[in-house]
Amino acid sequence: MEHSTLELQGLRIEGRAGALVEDVDLQLRRGQVCALVGSSGSGKSLTCLGSLDLLPAGLTRTHGQLLLDGQALPAAQVRGRVASLVLQNPRSAFNPVRNMASHAQETLKLRGIGGTAARARMAQCLEAVGLVDRERVLQAFAFQLSGGMLQRMMIALALMAQTPFLLADEPTSDLDALSQARFLDLLMELVQQHGLGVLLVTHDMGVVARCADHVAVMDAGRIVERQTVHGLFERPASTASRTLLDAHQILAGSTP
């Protein structure tokens, strides 16, 4: 399979008060889900955004490299071509004055697809993510669609961009339980059928249990543990992961 691995090496992000993320390495493989977990403030979202050079003002990435199949690539070439992004709170991720169709058209135009071929591809991708009322969704603006639908739209855009990898930053945090379940089902379907390689940033161990193959645990800006999902749940090595698991067990009452 071409483009089989995407690696992040040595990510370091600095803010006004010092280093917020340090020495972070991650490996993504096609057809597998790597979960990045940690409590709030551990730096997971920053890692996700920082790897693609999308940090907000006031924060800078001082170190870090992306490697596709071992070849270094600048973030600008990875964005939208090698890796797509799915964000938490999807409503604010779409331009409020443009409809879904225009977002889709932009994305497809980057791939050189326009006109009728574009409309066909849009229909295809919307169907793949389970957005059935295609015309209405495409004509709609962000404020007219629910969180769940917008989240799916983001995946649809990722499919249109045909990127082999997907970085998902807490995609289910703003969704209700049913939408969450549906979204994760969709994600797993894409991983299994299209060989999508996913980085799933989350603080919810239930999501990890359900979707992840590998887990990296972050605490205070560093990766403190790396394990397969089973290994993490059975033999958590770091205090951070133990805290997360305990909290999860209190809420959910069981291990996978």
């Binding site: 999308l54 964005r79 443009r98 932009e106 639908m149």
Partner: protein, 313 residues
């Protein structure tokens, strides 16, 4: 979209009626008796008989609502009465002077937009560096400067000292430069600052991050996602600017002996010529209302949120 426009047009009517009623009521709450003013301006001694006669002639002895309705009826036929001072029909006179004012106001608006946009863009694009500081300094000065003082400075510089431009009157392009600049400076400064702030805010928004994340080139992100969204506050502000520009034109006209409604209105105020003031107020307010309508329509066209009653699915 069309429905929105029609709706707004229809809503214009009750507002205009309300405004005219307000003006009418305020005039009648005013401190002087219009009959006395009329007599004074006609140089007729105010004997009791004369007052009673004038009151009857002007219809001031009827109940208030009757007076309003008869006034309204005549107004709809564009008969706003005659000036106490000149005795000529008010509406005709105002209409005669209006185009000159509209010329100044219109050009000042164009000037505001044309100058403020590049300034705002430059300041946002090079935020924190010297172009930004320069623009912020200039606009700060522009916002603080009295327009009538600026007008004199311009006259002193361009007419008296350099002799490039004529100091007075209406004529060719040369006559327009200074009045338009004097009127436009403040609005232009406000607009430039507004655009700068709007651009900076728009570029920090999440949908811009997402657009970049999808691999869109920087230029496209700037054009389609930052600029496109940053226009909105400016459109809203244009309505406010028009009101201020009208006010500015009124003041500046007197300095440049510009034959517009400004000078006409100032003499009406000093002479307390009520019919003229009533028509003047309503005419200019009506003009502003129509301009605001156009602005709102533009806004609705740019921002679908304001015209769609859509609720989330």
């Amino acid at each position: 979209m069309l429905r929105y426009i029609l709706l707004r047009l229809v809503l214009l009517v009750p507002v205009m009626l309300g405004v005219s009623l307000l003006v009418f009521v305020l005039l009648h709450l005013g401190s002087t008796d219009p009959a006395l003013d009329y007599l004074r301006l006609s140089h007729i001694p105010p004997t009791d008989a004369a007052i009673a006669e004038v009151r009857h002639a002007l219809g001031l002895d009827r109940p208030l609502y009757a007076q309003y309705l008869s006034w309204l009826w005549k107004a709809l036929q564009l008969d706003f009465g005659t000036s106490y001072l000149t005795g000529r029909p008010v509406f005709d006179d105002l209409l005669y002077y209006l185009p000159a004012t509209l010329q100044l106001g219109g050009l000042a608006l164009a000037c505001t937009l044309l100058l403020s946009i590049p300034l705002g863009l430059v300041a946002a694009r090079w935020q924190g560096r010297w172009p930004d500081h320069a623009v912020r300094a200039v606009t700060f000065l522009g916002v603080s400067m009295p327009n009538f003082w600026l007008a004199f400075l311009l006259i002193a510089l361009f007419s008296l000292w350099l002799g490039w431009l004529p100091p007075l009157g209406r004529g060719g392009a040369g006559h327009l430069v200074m009045p338009v600049l004097a009127i436009a400076l403040m609005s232009m400064s406000i607009n430039a600052r507004l655009l700068r702030a709007s651009l900076l805010e728009a570029s920090g928004q999440r949908h811009v991050t997402y657009a970049r994340a999808r691999g869109l080139p920087a230029r496209q992100v700037w054009g389609s996602h930052v600029l496109r969204n940053a226009w909105l506050p400016l459109v809203t502000a244009t309505g406010m600017h028009i009101g201020e520009l009208i006010g500015g034109a009124l003041v500046i006209e007197t300095i440049f002996a510009w034959p517009g409604v400004g000078r006409f209105a100032v003499s009406a105020v000093l002479n307390r010529d009520f019919p003229v003031m009533q028509c003047f107020t309503l005419l200019l307010t009506g003009l502003l209302m129509v301009c605001n309508l156009v602005v709102d329509v533009c806004y609705a066209w740019l921002d679908p949120r304001s015209r769609l009653e859509g609720v989330s699915a």
